[in-house]
Symmetry: C2
Subunit: 536 residues, 2 copies
């Protein structure tokens, strides 16, 4: 005999049945997916930031516009405690216009950009080139007396490249699985010493060229195909180089060097209009949050650097990450999420010059290290992580998870545990609702070079998403082609949806991600090594 149990369980009885953690708010995950994929604002946000504002070189006039936009945008989204946290950086630099031509032996427009943080030309410079490959101080002597009145080409020309892999690609699961391995830590104390010695090279080169009477210097673009970058690093206040520096497209640079080898040295006309911006030497992190219901539960956080290079509009580096963070916040506000823990959103400043913004956040809220006082921003970037002992600040225990995005606009395929293997199980559960969107793999491996690094290095649970590489490194990273139209809007709908979902799961989980130990001074990985006297 069978009895059909229709209508026999009341709503009150249902509410009393215990349910697994993830299913506690089953409709919230569905709402996130619906809002993030179906009502996405990523294109509108990216258009405003990338097309309308454009490049965001740290402390440039344009970056100030972007900072104001971001604060306003976070407020519009209804985030709480929206604020700019300043930190000492150095001067800004604006690129206004440039024009570089060969005027002899034949007239030719050259693809070129000024190098960031070099002075303009004050009108137009016309001079002959001299090809003088210089890579270190030891090379200066060979060129003494040969550079007066010249435009000095300092890079070896080399030859055209043969790009044998597809510029645009997605990862297969096997490639991702290979990242499920931890690198042994390694530390060479000599390398820190070498970095100290080398770090003044740019200004020493400038001083050498100036003292020899050179009128400007030129380096070759490090990518072929007429791509340009204009990268340069001498941003410290008061350390103004004397000479205008330019980057010339590889094809145009090599042509100059060949012509100089077989005939009269080509003459160039150089014009760069640039401007130093010294009225505020602080850079800023822009922070907002969705406050949690439990003030003692701490916070989870997502971040992306907001600054960019100036050669194009900072679209995939890192408009993509910035827009994803803002859109994840928008999605969570749109579905009315009420997380237990606070969810904090950070747009970091000055990442491109050495992760200065995230380091400043950690120094302010998380950890102090002996000997850090009095170090300049550049010295902090070089030395801070090697100072011991390291002492946590009160804010240290409040951070439960940090998620970073800075690998272009490719969709999320999973997440790097960054060596924190104890965290993998929880991250797997948080990602699990998004397996059908292609973001399911949790791998142990480490990644470097962006803003999760300092968090992770001080033992905090900090992670970076696995992303499809697309054409990020092939042709966009720091180039003059890093524009809105190389963002992939469908990928960004996915990244913002997954980020929103993971943040909410992390904020509501009964467990928090496990920390790693407070760092100790690293072990020299080759203590028995000897070096030649002149070995680098």
């Amino acid at each position: 005999m069978k009895r059909i149990a229709t209508g026999l369980i009341s709503a009150a009885m249902l509410a009393a049945i215990p349910m697994p953690a993830l299913a506690e708010n089953p409709d919230e995950t569905a709402q996130i997916i619906d809002e993030g994929l179906g009502q996405s604002q990523v294109q509108q946000l990216a258009h405003e930031l990338v097309d309308q504002i454009g490049p965001r070189l740290t402390n440039s006039t344009n970056m100030r516009r972007a900072e104001a936009w971001a604060v306003e945008k976070m407020r519009e989204l209804g985030l709480q405690n929206v604020r700019k946290e300043g930190f000492e950086f150095g001067r800004g630099w604006d690129y206004i216009a440039s024009d570089v031509r060969m005027i002899a032996p034949r007239p030719l427009e050259l693809a070129a950009l000024p190098v960031a943080w070099t002075p303009g030309t004050n009108g137009t410079i016309e001079a002959e080139i001299v090809v003088a490959p210089i890579a270190k101080k030891e090379h200066f002597e060979a060129y003494r007396g040969k550079l007066a009145g010249k435009i000095v080409l300092i890079t070896k020309p080399g030859t055209g490249d043969e790009p044998g892999t597809a510029p645009f690609r997605r990862l297969d699961n096997g490639e991702i699985a290979k990242r499920d391995a931890i690198d042994l830590p390694s530390f060479d104390p000599d390398s820190l010493e070498r970095r100290r010695e080398q770090s003044d090279y740019a200004l020493e080169l400038d001083e050498f060229l100036r003292s020899e009477g050179a009128v400007a210097w030129v380096k070759k673009s490090y990518r072929d195909g007429k791509l340009l970058h204009g990268t340069g690093y001498t941003f410290e206040s008061g350390k103004t180089p004397s000479l205008p520096g330019f980057e010339i497209a590889a094809e145009d640079y090599r042509r100059l060097t060949r012509l100089a080898k077989t005939g009269p040295a080509p003459r160039l006309s150089l014009m760069a209009e640039t401007r130093f911006v010294d009225d505020d030497t602080q850079a800023y992190n822009i922070i907002g949050e969705i406050s949690g219901s439990d003030p003692k539960a701490g916070y989870v956080m997502a971040g992306a650097h907001f600054d960019s290079w100036f050669a194009a509009d900072g679209a995939v580096d890192n408009g993509a990450g910035s827009v994803t963070v803002l859109e994840a916040a928008r999605i969570l506000k749109a579905i009315g999420a009420k997380p237990k823990r606070t969810i904090r959103f950070a747009l970091w400043g000055a990442e491109e010059q050495g992760l200065h913004g995230s380091l400043a956040y950690i120094r302010r809220h998380m950890m102090e290290r002996e000997g850090e006082e009095g170090l300049s921003p550049r010295e902090l970037g070089r030395e801070w992580r090697y100072l011991y002992p390291a002492t946590p600040k009160p804010g240290y225990s409040q951070m439960k998870a940090y998620f970073n995005m800075d690998n272009g606009s490719g969709k999320f395929r999973g997440i790097h545990a960054e060596g924190n293997v104890g965290a993998e199980k929880l991250m797997r559960s948080w990602l699990s609702p998004f397996a059908d969107l292609g973001a399911s793999q949790v791998v142990a491996g480490n990644t470097g070079g962006t803003d999760h690094v300092y968090f992770q290095a001080v033992g905090l649970p900090a992670f970076q998403f696995v992303q499809d590489p697309l054409d990020y490194f092939a042709r966009l990273h720091h180039t003059n082609a890093d524009t809105f139209d190389h963002l992939r809007p469908d990928d960004l709908r996915q990244t913002s949806t997954v980020m929103a979902g993971v943040l909410l799961a992390a904020a509501n989980d009964e467990d928090a991600l496990p920390r790693e130990p407070i760092p100790q001074a690293p072990q020299d990985s080759d203590p028995f090594d000897y070096k030649y006297p002149d070995e680098d």
Copy 2:
């Protein structure tokens, strides 16, 4: 019992032993390889042509310099009957300088080139853009009254590309083998009618824009990654367009269109300094030869077009082919080759505007067609091959083989028989000494778009080499990156060596390549077709 035959055959006896054709001059093949690979001048020739002279747009001032260089070079090499054969083409056009900027809503240098054969700006034009996608005359009406005072963006912007194959590649043997197949000929008489209708579109568009009061027009580059071309075709004397035309890099063009969609129309500043060259409307083929020992044996010929686009230096298109032809001549002179048949070397003019140079050669020496008199160069390019009957001239029977090179600087992997299957056996034997250099495959397939086409179309034995594609179409063909450093010198040592060897074998072979029949009027391949009234 055995007898050792040492010393029993005299030199005189050896000379009397008949040997197979190829081994007749065994040392000549070895000498060609030695000279071509070990003493190559391809880099020097390419440097002079590509770096020092640069772009060679038909009838431009620079092309005149290049023509003089080629004549001088052929004479230096000791070629006989060096000559320029002129033919009516139209006007030249010089590109001198340009500068294109966005001045609002934010200042930005844009990557751009003027479109060839459009007038300069006479100083600087500043105006707002209007995005008005126009692809044919039927679209004009929709924009009437909306373009006055504007810079008109005529291309649909589309979105960023996703290049999923390697830019630089070599062929595997299987890919080459697939070309061993003949396409059925097909002919649609309507297509000729459509081409007649469309051929005045460029000037009609110019006239429409002028009559509406537009100040300039802009098209989008057809390649992403900041590559530019500047291609344009209205080269006929007396048909000067009114408005300056520009090509803007895809990324920069799309940014303009997005900004125009969401805010005030961007303002641009446009400057182009260009010049029409009308003092000689003839273009020229440059021809030289190594005279054969048998005046009745006719000639074999290698050719490559010598003109280029202007966006860069015409290196892989077709400096590569031009240098290979000259170097093959140099190799043959260096080894003292005394061929039976004359070996003729041709550098064709005006290929890029429609194979005008090779067509002029054929009309002058090979074949006349009823109704060709009085047709303009552009009409000849469009119509000549459809005129019947076709009557060979006396020179027709003199040509025994033509070999063309116009697919970049990739090494030869074999040769296309271009449907002339009767020729395959001979070509295989001529290529056989070069199998170890990778050039051994003879495939039946057809190729189009360059100077062997008219020879082959009138029944002459004319062929194009199979070449490794490298990055020719991915980023170099007609772009601003077509520079010397994307030539591959090792490949060009091989192409010139193989070309020299094949020419000498063809010149000395007892057999000549078989012709195909004199062409007859083609069969309509779909005689039962119907069309909608407005169908293209």
